[in-house]
């Protein structure tokens, strides 16, 4: 049994961070009034600012955070390693490469603003398929090795794309996109993120019992009647869909998938099956708050979301390594 207050507290925090995020911005508008007017289809200034500008950005931040949080929790459970990160599977780099090819080669012109997202999803899927093919058995050590190999290859291709950038503006656009941001995102992005979160999340949650069984190792999980091979493939696929979509829409937002499950775990009695949904909620809250923080900074060149999460996340990561090291000494 997890602490009964965990989910309600997270939902409350989520609502508060949504309201905070909607109220952040350069113009003074009333959040509730604007939201109501937008929902009832009135074309007032408040309705446009809240509904068409701030709401999509807030929703993208929530969905990206939720996808990163739950995929981190799933991968840490699968690999039985508290330091596992969604980027490990090669999905982040694959998504980045897919989206980068849109900037360079102008593929999928008919999709308009959603083109990088679709290409990114394809890139992530391709990287994951290559990774699974290379890893063969979806065993944890092989997943890490194969993920590293695929990340390195796609990273090299990405570097090559930067190297041969047709013009400095294309390069700048790509680099900024890679830094990670949820600014200037619209509802077309949400319609990609929402089904991805639903499908990827369902795949991951369907394997929650396997994650619990895997706590005592693969032998125990198999002897408890789990098909560990099939189950881990489903988990990796789910994580790929989540990470691939999140990265292709918002760029690389580091450390959320790594840190969020750690923050949640003590409240869920360390059970890998019970950290999944809370991690999604906490990830959403974290990214939403980080984005609100960015918007509260003084005007000027915007600090990118991925840069902020990395700067905030790194000390936590170092602390985690330190704690793990002490555990094994």
């Amino acid at each position: 049994m997890i602490k009964p207050t965990l989910l309600p507290s997270l939902v409350l925090l989520l609502i508060l961070s949504i309201l905070l995020s909607l109220s952040m911005g350069s113009s003074e508008v009333s959040v509730i009034k604007g939201l109501w007017e937008w929902l009832t289809g009135q074309e007032t200034l408040d309705a446009i600012v809240i509904g068409d500008i701030r709401l999509p950005r807030t929703l993208v931040a929530l969905l990206v955070g939720a996808a990163l949080g739950i995929s981190g929790a799933a991968l840490q459970g699968l690999l039985r390693n508290p330091l596992a990160d969604p980027g490990l599977t090669g999905a982040s780099q694959g998504a980045a490469l897919g989206a980068a090819s849109v900037f360079y080669f102008g593929i999928f012109p008919q999709l308009g603003g959603a083109a990088p997202a679709v290409a990114g999803l394809l890139g992530a899927g391709l990287a994951m398929m290559l990774m699974l093919f290379l890893a063969g058995s979806a065993r944890q050590s092989m997943v890490i090795m194969a993920g590293l190999a695929i990340s390195t290859v796609t990273g090299a291709l990405l570097a090559m794309a930067l190297n041969f950038a047709p013009n400095p503006y294309a390069m700048q656009e790509l680099v900024f996109w890679l830094l990670g941001s949820v600014a200037n995102r619209g509802f077309d992005h949400i319609w990609i993120l929402l089904p991805a979160l639903f499908i990827g999340g369902s795949l991951v949650i369907s394997q929650r019992r396997l994650l619990l069984g895997l706590s005592l190792g693969e032998n125990v999980a198999s002897s408890l009647g789990f098909s560990t091979k099939m189950g881990s493939r489903i988990l990796v696929l789910g994580a790929a869909i989540l990470v691939g979509t999140a990265v292709s829409i918002a760029g690389a937002i580091g450390f959320v998938g790594l840190i969020v499950p750690h923050l949640v775990r003590p409240f869920a009695k360390n059970r890998p099956d019970k950290v999944l949904v809370p991690s999604a909620l906490a990830g959403a809250i974290l990214v939403c708050l980080a984005d609100s923080l960015i918007r509260s900074l003084p005007p000027g060149p915007e600090l990118k979301l991925g840069v902020l999460t990395s700067i905030l996340g790194t000390p936590l990561f170092i602390w985690l390594i330190w704690r793990e090291r002490r555990r094994w000494l």
Binding site: G217, G225, N270
Partner: protein, 249 residues
């Protein structure tokens, strides 16, 4: 009736045409030197390692059972268990109910009482000592109430008192007092031959993946057998209480 029957069981180089049957209410001890195939045999029986030959469980081929049905019938206590997360003792024991898709609190507390870990139900597993943890791993298997319980070297890291209490517990599991329960049996791999002689009904002496001797402790634990398999000269007194098997120089 035989609960499990192995016929010509082979596993690449680790097991070579092993045939034996496991009777109802029996506690069978697997003995043999390191690398003789004890763990491989337990893994084949548990259905987590592919094999050649046939394993019959309750008169049907083990491969006909789906994974969950098999897991309900056969429980495995592997060697060197470790939890990746700092789970509570209660949650670890409830893992034993995963194949049943429930967290039956009665069965969990019964298993905890049987192994004497009920005092620590809410403690995190990593705060317990190695021997205490081993009893929790066993409680996890007991909670699933398998017909066949396989234990792989369960005595490592236990002190003298808990070594014999662990084996009495397994002994008792094979022959429960209540007649209403379905018949059960236990297969346990052991290095301590005196303990094996004292607690097991029959012993199976493995050597390089083959059954070297199979029978009652008196039939298996002979000077000649131990000399041939372990290359040691021994003094054996199985009539003593407890039985004595000591290595001579």
């Amino acid at each position: 009736m035989a609960l499990v029957e192995l016929h010509q069981l082979s596993l690449d180089r680790r097991l070579k045409s092993v045939s034996l049957s496991l009777h109802e209410g029996e506690m069978l001890g697997l003995i043999g030197p390191n690398g003789s195939g004890k763990t491989s045999m337990l893994h084949c029986l548990a259905g987590i390692e592919p094999y050649q030959g046939s394993v019959q469980f309750l008169g049907q081929s083990l491969q006909c059972f789906d994974d969950v049905e098999r897991a309900r019938g056969i429980g495995l206590l592997p060697q060197g268990c470790q939890s990746a997360w700092s789970l509570s003792v209660r949650d670890i024991i409830s893992l034993g109910r995963l194949a049943w898709r429930d967290e039956n609190p009665q069965k969990i507390s019964d298993a905890a009482k049987a192994t004497g870990v009920d005092r620590w139900l809410d403690q995190p597993i990593d705060k317990l000592s190695g021997g205490e943890q081993l009893r929790v791993w066993l409680a996890r298997v007991l909670a699933g109430e398998p017909r066949v319980l396989l234990a792989d070297e369960p005595l490592a890291s236990l002190d003298l008192y808990f070594q014999s209490s662990m084996l009495s517990l397994l002994r008792h599991y094979a022959q429960p007092a209540s007649q209403t329960l379905a018949s059960r049996s236990v297969v346990v791999s052991l290095h301590d031959l005196s303990m094996a002689a004292r607690f097991c009904d029959r012993l199976c002496l493995l050597n390089q993946g083959e059954v070297f001797a199979l029978g009652t402790p008196a039939e298996v634990l002979t000077k000649q057998n131990l000399m041939a398999v372990y290359q040691v000269n021994t003094r054996i007194d199985l009539l003593a209480n407890p039985p004595i098997i000591s290595v001579l120089d």
